[in-house]
């Protein structure tokens, strides 16, 4: 083992570019996703300002469509999914008592692909305009003929980000299957790990569908394929099927981890074990499975005929049952408990009723004959913001406050935290409750303006004010983070009287997570030790040197390569009015060069083995006292 000791450690920017430490990657995901959230939120604010008054001319029609498309796309793919990944990265290995994830390198690849894919999507603003065909990019509107160059950015940016997400998903599946500490059986796993496990499985099976969809759209737009050209025998409904075969599971990819977070927080702050744990696990898996069988509910007005509509309607409604199981189990976890309130538990408490309100409107939408009235109206906008913002974002904000000390070693300020909760909660309901009525009163979605004298003015105004209130809340959260960052790093290991393994190690977690892998003896492993009067986990192994993977710049270069190749493909048939640019793009030189960078990086990775390095026992002893 002579070669294993050369410790390569970078500092500063290089450290972040090369890191393969899942906790740092978690932080990177949080920063990346957070920035995109602010961007998507800003776009939401622009949308709402435009819709504040009838016939407002704050944004013109074309800009509005771009803002709308980018708001949806950014929020779904670049904001909330990465933030989910941030928590998965930061927490899952700790919850299952692992030193690392299964593929630290692939994990880093996943992050950089997401980030550069997202960047590619967003630089469209500075080139030929952002995509403008809605986040669903229905053809033929998304074909060259009817939409701008921006849709190319959508296609390639999402493709790259999607590959990253898929890589991340596989990483977590294998980590959870193979890397659990001794005694950490599946049925002892914390619920956040469980839901993330199912979410990863959904990613594995749903993302390939959108990969194909995006490939088709790319070939259609860039290489003159004809899948969607009616004159050539094409069919536009194909895109809708493929998009929603991915798209519906996607919404459960989003919500399941939030269910996990809520389960953790409710149980911790009620100081009770989760009520009906096995039912919760079962319900999660069932939701995941059913999630693949219901996508046609987005297509009730496409005209598939009553048989298809009815089948998918019933399948959709069935999802209410396992979801209800979860809701009632949370309530009964709190029943007989001692729920205490702080920012994290407030957001969790806000989640439950709000999500139920969004869920029940989902079931209403699932009735085709009624959906013919709701579809593509603000009723749908209200539904999905209730589940996504009132559900998922509440969950993520709860998780943020809950795990912040574990990720950063500092406690967020409670006063500002509570302020941000109340402004967000009130602002949210103000924005979206009224949108149900707007929809029922005849307001279609995706409209850049509405005429006066249609009875829609007041509610739109209220909705905008609510959105601004959410903006205030977001700023408060940012202030909170800034204030906290200036305080000393003094968070205790276990600030909330936690029940799961992540609270058994220091805050923030050391780079090797567990000095000694713990022995797990039951559900809520740490709590089990606590009630038996022990302060910490029993180790499952003697103290020894710990093997760590080496940092590497290759994940970054791989992704940069694809980023460049993306541009190359997009502009291969573009007329630059510039001989040099025309030559290098027109002959696929840029595209080829980008792909080459990626392939060479992959080759280097394959040929040179990573032997990693060891952290020796002496070093481990030292860090404890530090």
């Amino acid at each position: 083992m002579a070669h294993a000791h050369t410790v390569k450690r970078y500092t500063g920017l290089m450290d972040w570019l090369t890191t393969v430490d899942h906790k740092k990657i978690g932080i990177l995901y949080l920063i990346g996703g957070g920035l995109f959230f602010l961007l998507g939120g800003l776009e939401a604010i622009l949308i709402r300002i435009q819709l504040m008054y009838p016939q407002n001319d704050f944004l013109d029609a074309s800009t509005y469509n771009q803002v709308l498309t980018m708001h949806g796309t950014t929020m779904i793919f670049l904001a909330v999914m990465p933030i989910i990944f941030a928590f998965m990265n930061a927490i899952i290995p700790l919850q299952i008592g692992a030193r690392d994830v299964a593929y630290p390198f692939v994990n880093a690849v996943g992050f950089w692909m997401f980030f550069l894919g997202g960047l590619l999507l967003n630089v469209s603003w500075f080139f030929n305009g952002a995509p403008d065909a809605g986040w669903t990019s229905y053809v033929p509107l998304a074909n060259n003929e009817y939409s701008g160059k921006g849709v190319d950015f959508y296609v390639l940016g999402l493709q790259i980000a999607g590959i990253g997400t898929l890589a991340g998903g596989i990483n977590f599946l294998v980590t959870i299957i193979n890397m659990r500490a001794p005694g950490m059986t599946f049925m002892r796993m914390p619920l956040f790990t469980w839901t993330s496990f199912i979410t990863s499985a959904l990613i594995l099976f749903a993302f390939p569908a959108i990969t194909v969809g995006l490939v088709l759209l790319m070939f259609e737009r860039l290489f003159s394929a004809n899948y969607f050209d009616v004159a050539a025998g094409g069919n536009i409904v194909l895109w809708q099927h493929i998009f929603w075969i991915f798209g519906h599971p996607e919404v459960y990819i989003l919500i399941l981890p939030a269910f996990g977070i809520i389960s953790e927080i409710v149980s911790t702050f009620a100081r009770k074990r989760l009520f009906g744990y096995s039912a919760m696990v079962f319900a999660t898996a069932l939701i995941g499975f059913l999630g693949f069988m219901v996508w046609v509910h987005h297509m009730f007005t496409t005209g598939l005929g009553p048989i298809g509509n009815a089948i998918f309607s019933i399948a959709t409604m069935l999802i209410a049952i396992p979801t209800g199981i979860k809701i009632f189990n949370w309530i009964f976890t709190m029943w007989g408990g001692q729920y205490s309130f702080n920012t994290a538990s407030l957001f969790a408490a806000g989640f439950i009723p709000t999500f139920v309100m969004g869920g029940v409107t989902g079931v209403m939408l699932a009735a085709p004959a009624a959906d013919w009235q709701y579809h593509d109206s603000y009723f749908v906008v209200a539904h999905f913001h209730y589940v996504i913002v009132g559900g998922l974002v509440f969950g993520l904000l709860a998780g943020l406050h809950y795990w912040w000390p574990k990720m950063f070693g500092r406690m967020l300020n409670e006063t500002i935290g509570k302020f941000s909760f109340w402004t967000f909660f009130i602002g949210f309901h103000m924005t979206f409750l009224v949108q149900h009525f707007l929809g029922l009163w005849g307001m279609p979605r995706r409209i850049f303006t509405f005429l006066e004298n249609q009875g829609l003015d007041e509610l739109n105004f209220i909705s905008t004010i609510g959105a601004l209130l959410m903006g205030v809340s977001t700023i408060a959260i940012l202030v909170n983070i800034a204030v906290t960052q200036m305080k000393p790093r003094n968070a205790p290991a276990d600030p909330w009287d936690g029940r799961t393994l992540e609270w058994s190690i220091p805050s923030p977690a050391p780079e090797y997570n567990f000095k000694q892998i713990p022995l797990v003896r039951g559900l809520d492993a740490l709590f089990k030790e606590k009630i038996e009067g022990k302060k910490e986990m029993t180790p499952a192994e003697p103290l020894g040197p710990i093997h760590m993977p080496s940092p590497s710049i290759l994940p970054f270069t791989m992704s940069i390569g694809l980023f460049i190749a993306g541009f190359g493909f997009m502009y291969a048939r573009w007329d630059f009015d510039n001989g040099f640019l025309d030559a290098i793009f027109g002959h696929y030189i840029v595209a080829g060069a980008g792909l080459l960078i990626t392939l060479v990086s992959m080759l280097l990775r394959s040929v040179f083995d990573d032997h990693g390095y060891h952290i020796e026992v002496e070093e481990l002893e030292k860090e404890v006292h530090a």
Partner: protein
């Protein structure tokens, strides 16, 4: 299913396995392919032929999965779940597109 149990199962000492099963699978594959070929040539009616040759393909795929790719061996629970789920979802997609793309 305990974690240590799982690692255990993949660590089982391995008996050297001869080429017999693999050759049988090869022969089966050739046979099934030929059978499908003849079924098409024999004009047995559209629906029947399609169902029949798709069935043959599935049988052949199963053989290859189980023998050549070792899915029959221990420690392949998740492998099988993965492929099986993938297959179900792929089939759903195919069925939907075939039934609900044109009307």
């Amino acid at each position: 299913m305990a974690a240590n149990h799982h690692t255990h199962e993949t660590n089982k000492p391995h008996r050297y396995e001869g080429p017999k099963n693999h050759l049988i699978t090869f022969a089966v594959s050739i046979l099934l392919t030929a059978l499908a070929f003849f079924a098409v040539m024999a004009n047995l009616g559209k629906t029947f032929t399609i169902m029949f040759i798709v069935l043959l393909a599935i049988v052949q795929a199963a053989f290859q999965l189980y023998v050549w790719m070792h899915a029959k061996d221990r420690g392949h629970t998740y492998a099988k779940i993965g492929i099986f789920m993938g297959g179900i979802i792929a089939l759903t997609a195919v069925a939907a597109v075939v039934y609900w793309m044109w009307w």
